[in-house]
Symmetry: C2
Subunit: 235 residues, 2 copies
DNA sequence: TAAGATTTGTTCGTATGTATC
DNA sequence: GGATACATACGAACAAATCTT
């Protein structure tokens, strides 16, 4: 039913933004009642394949699956297959240095500026636990942004997905207290050094810096005895 | 609407196999009509969060998101964000050697037997293109199986997902012709050597063998000028 | 501002299929 | 085989949203 409509869309080679027939048309075309059509549409909508609007000129449209939706759907899988902090870091240690190395010397001034802007949001050590949490979330944003600069969509997705899980984690749990001045200065140094290496095209350095950064980050998380919270993701 | 039901499930701490109220109950509980409830159920079903059965004792049940479904949903994302063979291999070169290394010395005799059984399905070089394709699919199954032995669910998922994409690729395109005797013998040697290293707990060797294997596999794929086919994934 | 057209969204009532007892 | 309990499907009406005139 939903598969039939999906096949129809592929068959007719519809692309993003193209409009599907309206409900009445679909009812006639597939010989099904309105409710059945609507249920099928909801399935496709849940997968992010279509969007619907009311009103004249409205209807159902082929919509691209956003990265956010794909991450939310994937997160549901890991609701049932719990992953630990060390699981995530086993991948981060492999993938993030690779991203840093491949992007060295390939970022525009504007992109480097975006990274610097994120780092600039935390020039001083946090004064309390809440501020430190905000800093850590911003730091994860740094990694997400960097990942999304990669031309490898698969690599970007996986790294960005992990950063999202870690971000949700920090929002849900009271991590990162008490503030640790030494860790702050070290983390800040890593990121500024990394930006310099990226700008100057020193791929090997960028890789090494990121690897060391991952090392300390994992130790920090492990020390906090953080565990991935079991929960469904919205939307 | 669907989110409300999802929240209700989490709220009541329902686990896999637990039963949701029947449609009439849900209508009363949420003050919505049958059609609306059903559409919401379809959304949850599409995400793999519930399953429904007809008949007495039937109804909707909390169902775990299977790896296959999660992969299908994720594949839809990459319908819109195309990935290349080299994108996939950039990750495989990093992740598969890591899996081999961490599993060395940790597999049961039964698990090693499963791997050997897969290798045993192609003792001889393929005689035609079709047979070679079957061999390559079986070889990818080897990597999937190995990945799923990992205790790191995230790592297992990503590697298994890539193997699935490559498998679909070989089914859809006419790759791997003409048969190449040299590549066959080399590939076979890699996998038998790898099993030996895994059995004897030689982690460094396992890592190196897998890295070399990835190297040649990528060259093979690139030589075939394979590109990832754009298509939606069923179910 | 207001009225009308278009299309999805929601509801109700009823009928059908299916699996268990 | 018949009764029961449930999901599934259908059809007709009404509501809400949004664009045009």
């Amino acid at each position: 039913m939903a598969e039939a409509i999906k096949d129809w869309v592929v068959e007719h080679n519809l692309r993003k933004g193209d409009r599907l027939p309206n409900e009445a048309d679909l009812m006639a075309r597939f010989g099904m009642a309105k409710g059945t059509i609507r249920e099928a549409m909801r399935i496709l909508e849940a997968q992010g394949l279509i969007e619907s609007r009311t009103g004249p000129g409205g209807g159902c449209f082929v919509g691209e699956v956003t990265a956010d939706r794909a991450k939310a759907l994937l997160a549901n899988y890991f609701y049932f297959n719990e992953i630990s902090i060390s699981d995530i870091y086993q991948l981060r240690r492999l993938l993030e240095p690779e991203i840093a190395a491949t992007l060295a010397g390939r970022l525009s001034g504007e992109q480097l500026g975006q990274l610097e802007a994120i780092v600039a949001t935390y020039p001083e050590p946090a004064r309390d636990a809440e501020e430190e949490r905000d800093q850590h979330v911003a730091s994860l944003l740094f990694h997400r942004r960097l990942a999304n600069f990669s031309s490898n969509a698969l690599l970007a997705f996986v790294v960005s997905f992990m950063a999202r899980i870690l971000t949700d984690l920090t929002v849900y749990r009271q991590l990162y207290d008490p503030p640790n001045r030494e860790l702050f200065t070290r983390g800040l140094a890593y990121q500024t050094d990394l930006i310099a290496a990226l700008r100057e095209g020193r791929a090997a350095d960028a890789r090494a810096i990121m690897a060391a950064h991952m090392d300390t980050a994992e130790r920090l998380m492990q020390a906090q005895e953080a565990r991935v919270a079991r929960r469904f993701m919205a939307e």
